[in-house]
Symmetry: C2
Subunit: 316 residues, 2 copies
């Protein structure tokens, strides 16, 4: 994954004092309480044109950026949208922006600006999401004994991507679960208020990958009870389903940690309010990394982050 | 120019009340006094790899974004840097980030975050610049009778680009004027304090193009005294020089308007402080658009924005 190269090669630079720089899902300017995130979506890397309509594409690149604000429990303010596209495709801009408008209306955010250019190659979108929060929830607060919870179900969007990459038929329901994914904005704000999570992150890289971010930032081990992971029915059953739920990615659900007993009493209210589940999937323990515990009990197996080949660097 | 298509196709969206959305160089969030801008730089569209070193590239994409903050007289806070590059080029990331570090040190800004991906085609960089200002200077305040001023000299960077596009030899001085261009950050902050410009913009599209933005936003005509335009010696003399200065672009100098008599008394101080000229080049008149007035007096000729072919959309 190319992100690893970034971490290795980034030269020492001055970072703002109380502000947070790279590491969380978004940058945080403490003084005015502004959260800013940026997300690349590139044709042939993050999506293929056949996978979704232009309107879905405009909405999805916006949702992915907005999800970074949810990951820090920030209230969306606006987007800046930089797009490069081949000259021949300018007729697609109207439905694309219609989709951006869909995401803006869903989130209550506005279009703040952007840039537009010709691309000599693929479609390229970089979406900047700007939010407000005086006290964003970071990924570094998970403490030993805290419970691990996730929203919704996992593995549905990844089932569609795996189907496309394997050249298999993809059902329309699976396609929509990927192409029409939503950001858990309202859910994040409610959770911040109702249960004060000790750590929060959105699941873009997959449960194993994003749990590893929380574990590394917090200096703890996250132990997942594999039988408790809410596998989406679209992901199928058995090993395939749990594999997609653990490693597939692109769910844009939320993972949070909280002191024991704090979240459980609020799950009924959460489900009634948002029509999605809130599931306890594990516990924070001493150590490092992400582990899976099977139903047999004490056995723990290291869950290494595994991604789809189209996300990975080839030859490096 | 593809920007025109954007303006035509952008659906009506809600814009933030007191905040400024698309139209200025950067978005302005009035409440916390935050200015945010985003700039695309794409290989084969905005630059060719042979034109500059990787370190110069990293610095230049950052400077271009920082110049948008200067255009609104905002104080730089930080950058978010989204980059996509071919897998084989990851060895270039270290000098590229060294160049980003150069721009950060020059401006006093810090790296706040970003994204990194593989590109299936060219290098893409989208740089978000974040600044602070409680009262940014916009481009819509030029009033009839106000003087028009520019910093520095114009046409040097464009001379290099024209040379490359025409397959001619480019001197190292011309190459450096393009590859090592600087943002007029300190100059903009000083001007905001010293002369309270009625309108301010940076010259990225060229004098004719950016003056047209000020004219349109302010509802006035900008009349340029052609003999007063400070043509860079690198741009050459005669018609070629004035053409590059008027239409070449990529100078990243500042254009400002101000009530008569306000700027003149401060030019000596400006030049002593910044080692660059501050030149009165015209007057704001009733009407619309940008006009050139020759030495012969009353004749006015409409200056239409003309760009280099590599900036333009082909076939649209």
């Amino acid at each position: 994954m190319i992100r690893r190269i970034l971490a290795a090669d980034l030269p020492a630079m001055a970072y703002a004092g109380r502000d947070h720089g790279p590491g969380d899902d978004a940058a945080f300017l403490a003084d005015p309480g502004i959260v800013i995130s940026t997300d690349l979506s590139i044709e042939g890397v993050h999506f293929q044109r056949e996978w979704l309509s232009m309107r879905e594409l405009g909405r999805r690149v916006s949702v992915v950026a907005l999800s970074d604000l949810a990951a820090m429990a920030a209230t969306p303010v606006g987007l800046l949208l930089s797009i490069a596209l081949p000259s021949k495709d300018t007729r697609h801009l109207t439905p694309f922006y219609d989709g951006v408008g869909d995401a803006l209306r869903e989130s209550g955010a506005v279009l703040l600006g952007g840039d537009l250019s010709r691309s000599p190659g693929p479609w390229f979108a970089d979406v900047v999401a700007v939010g407000r929060s005086l006290k964003p929830i970071r990924r570094d607060g998970a403490a030993i004994g805290h419970e691990i919870w996730v929203t919704g179900t996992l593995g549905g969007p990844a089932a569609a991507v795996r189907g496309w990459l394997d050249g298999e038929a993809v059902t329309d329901a699976a396609r929509r679960s990927w192409a029409q994914v939503a950001a858990r904005t309202d859910e994040a704000l409610w959770l911040a208020d109702a249960v004060s999570p000790s750590a929060l992150i959105d699941l873009s890289d997959g449960l194993s990958g994003d749990a590893a971010h929380v574990a590394a930032a917090s200096g703890v081990a996250l132990v997942i009870e594999l039988s408790e992971v809410p596998v989406a029915s679209l992901a199928g059953g058995g090993d395939v389903g749990i594999d997609l739920a653990l490693h597939g990615g692109e769910d844009y659900e939320l993972l949070l940690t909280a002191p024991p007993g704090r979240v459980g009493p609020r799950t009924v209210e959460f489900e009634a309010r948002f029509g999605a589940g809130l599931t306890r999937i594990g516990i924070v323990e001493e150590g490092e990394g992400v582990w899976g515990r099977s139903a047999r009990g004490a056995d723990r197996e290291r869950l290494l982050r595994r991604g789809f080949s189209h996300w990975e660097e080839e030859g490096t």
